[in-house]
Amino acid sequence: MVYNIYICGIGGQGIIKTSIVIGETAIHKDMNVVMSEIHGMSQRGGVVSTELKIGEDQSPIIQEGGADLILSFEPVEALRALHKSNKDSIIVTNISPVLPSTINQQDVDYPDVENIIEELKGKVSTVYAIDANKIALDAGHPLSMNMAMLGAATAISTFPLEKDDVISIMKDNLPPKSIEINLKAFEEGYNSCL
């Protein structure tokens, strides 16, 4: 069995770090894991995505339609990732938009977030739409948004890793001075998807 996770969003949202925590937790539990990251232009407002496969696979790329879970840190990016999903996929998406820096020069407006969520619901079995930015702010720092998303993913019933294991790897990977805030965000994210 292979569990495929596609994680997407914008540069600076902590996507790579989140993916590494998932990967290291899998290793800690003696599971095989491979991951691909694309971040060449991320620092300059571009899209960032990672693909994680937990199980027997050797290649780090998920087949079209092959994602069991899409974890989107930004609502439009969830729509952009739909080609990796199938009707049985689960999507967890943050509902806080990040406007493209060039939005004023584009012919396209940023879509209405409620429409985005409706669209996603029409495509896959389950959609969890959470306000991860708010969870992070309430936890004490906007940058803990990624851990709110990780908490949400961990609460999904099919997610192959246990909450306690993820938390223990978070403690190894995150700076001690912000761990309290990150754990709080993780916990609230987790609760939002129960």
């Binding site: 590494i20 290291e24 290793i27 407002g45 571009g46 290649s59 729509l79 004023n104 396209v108 495509k123």
Partner: protein
């Protein structure tokens, strides 16, 4: 993984490593003494890590001025008996090629490994060139790892070949292998203790024609011997499943084959090639005779495929060989599991049990093109250049040769300040050509500080000596920014993190003989526009050094800006110059009002371009 763990003596530890991290661990375990590079994605992280740990590892590390110098440093150091390492992106090999070719003729007394990261699908490059051609051209052995563990393990193996045959060797990765994370089990590591070797003249280090003939003969003989190594290497292995269809696969492409075959229970034999130059002729011959159909899977060019076809031709083997040449696989871009699935379905019938992908949404999605950062000094340089050019009211197009760096993003509207680009340093050389081949069209070209040191100086000498006329803007943002922020000769820090002499761009260009040299902080937009106008009227080569640090290294100064950028809605006349001409990502129109976002670095350029002072600095 904490990068300091790369120095852990622990053997048998399992870590989740990026391919580039595994490369660092690999060379450290192999006992490397010296490493040199010029940064290039997808190999950049190797340099970033070595910059941080070289001292603790007792390894000499430098960011060389360019890839050619890096190869020269690594090769000459290896001639003293040391074990050396160089690494670069694929196009770096073009720059290094002159010396790299000779390094194979001259050979090494110690050992020398060069890791080259190719970029299929051009995620961050100007082309898809395949380094495996170069290995053949230069007679240099080449290895193709498929994952981080193999990167580390192949490095050991490759160094042993280099040692045994006194020849440089290449590890060829691709973006998906260098930027893949996987489980890596560490080997034994002890800190390097050898910093110095001894140069001995063996009479065969100078390829004058007479010696070069001897060297080439020796090299060809070495390659023949190494071909035997390749035939018998554990890196090239047949997985025999008693099938009639076989697959020859290498590098990252092998991973897709392995997965598709396993997931769909496809009965095929596999020849995994890890040591691909010299190509293992006997092994491939055996594989061809054992299979009726063979598919060759590789990225990007059909190199192993053509080698395989040649072997079939040489030995009159009738096996059908499929790949790129017969259209079974695409000739461009990186592969995916789906591409390999489709190719295998053509050769072997099996059920399609894949999940059906969802159709993309019909909601039109805004794109997210990479843009210059909020507060990037290049934006000010481009805005001012566009204003100066527009003020000329030309009825011809202006020409803007550009170069390799963040500033290539100046291609985008509204600046459109990049309309001819070839390679590192080419902004200057191509300006010379445009100067000689056009009459009325103004030429303003752009090059970054690191790129100027890399390949911009010889063409600038050419420009002066050959009496050309153009304006070169050296965008000196005090860092090699595009690849993540490495040092360069203009920065007073070297690859070891020590203080180092800072090379003055201004003194350099003046020494070349350029009389029109202006150094300016480009955030002073009005002054910048005036300088452009003056330069455009100058008969000869004019150089503008636009000097201001990249945000990446300017965080302290940004923090100390004790004001906010705010908009006075009453004064705003909705001319939208800030949005449409400056196009800073921090300025948006929300509900009809100009709005400054939270990412704003307060560079203040918008306050200068706003004609009614509606945007201002509020203390």
């Amino acid at each position: 993984m904490n990068i300091n763990e790369l120095l852990s003596p622990m053997k048998g530890e399992k870590r989740f490593m990026l391919g580039n991290e595994a490369a660092v661990r690999g060379v450290l375990e192999a006992g490397v003494s010296l490493a040199a590079t010029y940064p290039g994605t997808p190999s950049s992280e190797i340099g970033d890590i070595l910059f941080k740990i070289a001292k603790d590892a007792n390894v000499y590390f430098e960011f060389s001025a360019n890839e050619k110098v890096a190869i020269e440093v690594a090769a000459s150091a290896a001639s003293t008996g040391l074990r050396t390492f160089s690494f670069m992106k694929h196009v770096g090999v073009n720059v290094a090629a002159d010396s790299f070719m000779s390094s194979a003729y001259i050979g090494v007394e110690g050992s020398m490994l060069v890791l080259v990261a190719d970029d299929p699908s051009t995620f961050s490059s100007q082309n898809e060139q395949d380094t495996r051609h170069f290995a053949r051209q230069a007679n240099i052995p080449l290895f193709e790892p498929s994952n981080p563990q193999e990167i580390k393990d192949f490095i050991h193996y490759a160094y042993n070949i280099s040692d045994k045959y006194n020849i440089p060797v290449i590890i060829r990765t691709t973006t998906r292998v260098s930027h893949m994370r996987g489980i890596v089990e560490t080997g034994e590591y002890t800190k390097n203790t050898t910093n110095y070797g001894e140069y001995k003249d063996n009479g065969l280090h100078v390829p004058v024609p007479e010696a070069a003939r001897v060297m080439h003969k020796n090299l060809v003989e070495k390659i023949a011997d190494i071909r035997e190594e390749s035939n018998n290497s554990p890196l090239n292995k047949i997985i025999d499943n008693g099938a009639k269809v076989g697959i020859i696969a290498s590098g990252g492409a092998y991973n897709y084959v392995a997965d598709v075959v396993r997931q769909n229970n496809i009965k095929v034999n596999i020849l995994k090639i890890g040591f691909s130059h010299p190509y293992p002729e006997e092994l491939v011959r055996k594989f061809l005779t054992e299979n009726e159909e063979v598919l060759v899977v590789e990225e990007v060019d059909p190199i192993n495929e053509i080698e395989t076809l040649a072997i079939a031709g040489k030995y009159n083997i009738n096996t059908h060989i499929h790949g790129k040449r017969d259209g079974t696989l695409p000739e461009i871009f990186e592969y995916t599991p789906d591409i390999i699935f489709d190719a295998l379905q053509k050769l072997s019938s099996f059920e399609d049990s894949r999940k059906v992908p969802n159709e993309l949404s019909e909601i039109p999605l805004p794109s997210r093109p990479a843009t210059l950062c909020s507060g990037c000094p290049h934006r000010a340089s481009y805005y001012a250049a566009r204003e100066a050019i527009n003020s000329l009211n030309l009825d011809v197009e202006s020409i803007h040769p550009s170069d390799i760096g963040c500033y290539t993003l100046g291609i985008a509207p509204p600046y459109k300040m990049a309309n001819y680009l070839m390679s590192m340093g080419a902004s200057v050389g191509t300006s010379c050509g445009f100067s000689k081949s056009t009459e009325e069209q103004p030429i303003i070209s752009f090059i970054g500080d690191s790129t100027f040191f890399h390949a911009g100086i010889p063409p600038l000498i050419n420009a002066v000596h050959n009496k050309t006329k153009f304006t070169l803007v050296i965008l000196d943002n005090r860092i090699t920014a595009m690849t993540g922020g490495q040092t360069n000769p203009g920065i007073p820090i070297d690859g070891m993190g020590d203080e180092a002499p800072e090379i003055s761009i201004e003194a350099l260009v003046k020494a070349i003989g350029i009389e029109f040299v202006r150094k300016i902080n480009p955030l002073n937009v009005d002054e910048m526009i005036d300088i452009y106008k003056e330069a455009l009227n100058y008969e000869g080569v004019s150089v503008i050094i636009a000097k201001y640090p990249c945000n990446l290294i300017n965080k302290q100064a940004i923090r100390e800006r004790n004001y906010q950028i705010v908009v006075d809605d009453d004064k705003c006349v909705h001319c939208n110059i800030c949005v449409n001409k400056l196009a800073c990502p921090s300025i948006n129109i929300i509900d009809g009002k100009i709005t400054i976002d939270q990412v704003c670095n307060k560079c203040g350029v918008c306050t200068e371009v706003c004609p009614t002072n509606a945007i201002y600095k509020k203390e």
